[in-house]
Amino acid sequence: MNNVTCMYPDREAVLVAYLYDDIDAADRVTFETHMTTCPPCRSELAELRGVRATLGQWASPEPARTSLLNFASRIPHSESRRPGAWWHTVPVWAQVAAAMLVLGVSAAIANLDVRYDRAGLNIRTGWSTPARQVAQTPVNPVNNIAPWRAELTALQTELRSEWRAQAASVAAASSAPAGAMSDGEFRRRVRVLLDESEKRQQSELALHMVQLQTDLNAQLQAQASRVSQNFRDVTSTYGDQILKQQRQINYLLPASQR
């Protein structure tokens, strides 16, 4: 093949195209006509056909049929084995329970101290106070009535009495005979009525604000009580474990950090 003397245009490409029968009909006819008078091309074509015949003997082994059988259904199974995906199989309720447990134990280990007193809601963590003391002095919402309740009641009473006094004065002003009033007197009474109305609206608004604040404080107190109760539950349920862990931590921590 190296001693080709034929100068057929684009010879190698045409020869390969003819060899594989991947050639235009017109080009085929032209090349076949050329080969009748070109021994080198005929010879090389025969050699290449021999190479192809040898290549045809090269059979590849059969793939193991079981290797990819039911391939698609096996993919999710293998995907699910990826690290970190195992928890997808755990039910949601179990995940929530585990999260609550971890939260509770973490809070216990951190020696969480939740208090609600005159100073308001107070959450504190640390090892300065042992957890046992927290359990022995639980927050009692019944005995811990805040002093603001009496102040709010007094304010409410004061506002109501003021409101009643204003209503009485307005009634007295409106009971005077209309015919005896001059224009100036009429304008003055209207102004008084408007002022009283404005004051009354302000009083109502203040009363609503006080009521709102009372409700809000009551909710806060109830929530604090629930947090405290939950904490006591966790402490009583996992008390032994917490104490054990606390002892281990105290053992591991240097004395200066306790």
Binding site: E12, D22, T54, Q57, S60, A72
Partner: protein, 187 residues
């Protein structure tokens, strides 16, 4: 009813796993053969074949249908073979003739085939594998795709990302090398 590749792809994207299984059954053998002829070792060919279908499955939604599914699959397999060879930094594996186990060959032969024929066929296979391993990767790929997968020059050009004329040149040069290498063994 026989679905076309593209119909099976559409059904697979829609969640029908059995359709993708049909695609695997349809194309497993050609892809495995391609990988085997490129790499020369059965276990590597099996791994590449499996990885090809796994990648195809994962990327199925991205298949736009601009090319044939088979061309897309071949491209994935060829890229994997190329990566494998670069990672291994070596040419395809050719097992030495000394590895031939006559008893094993006898067990594998067709009932009508003599042991002598089996041995001769096996020798020829080793010879071709050895000659093919000497080809540059581009020439070997062109010959494999044309000779064993019946692709047109244009399909090979599209897969290889080169002009049509380059494909023909690679084929001619590859065949020339093979003729020389196979001729050595005749002497």
């Amino acid at each position: 009813m026989t679905w076309s590749d593209e119909e099976l792809v559409t059904r697979s994207i829609g969640g029908d796993a059995d359709s993708f299984n049909q695609l695997v059954l349809r194309w497993e053998r050609p892809i495995y053969a391609l990988a085997y002829r490129q790499l020369g070792r059965e276990e590597d060919a099996r791994d590449v074949c499996q990885e090809t279908f796994l990648r195809a499955y994962r990327a199925l939604k991205g298949f736009r249908g601009q090319a044939k599914f088979s061309s897309w699959l071949y491209r994935i397999a060829l890229n994997l073979c190329r990566d494998w060879m670069r990672r291994q930094r070596r040419t395809p594996v050719v097992q030495l003739p000394e590895d031939i186990d006559v008893m094993e060959l006898a067990a594998e032969r067709e009932p009508t085939e003599s042991i002598e024929n089996v041995i001769a066929r096996n020798d020829l296979t080793r010879l071709v594998e050895k000659a093919m391993a000497k080809l540059p990767e581009e020439q070997r790929t062109a010959i494999i795709l044309k000779e064993y997968h019946g692709m047109t020059f244009q399909e090979i050009a599209d897969l290889s990302g080169c002009p049509l004329s380059t494909v023909k040149t690679r084929l001619y040069q590859g065949l020339a090398v093979l003729r020389r290498e196979l001729g050595k063994s005749d002497q």
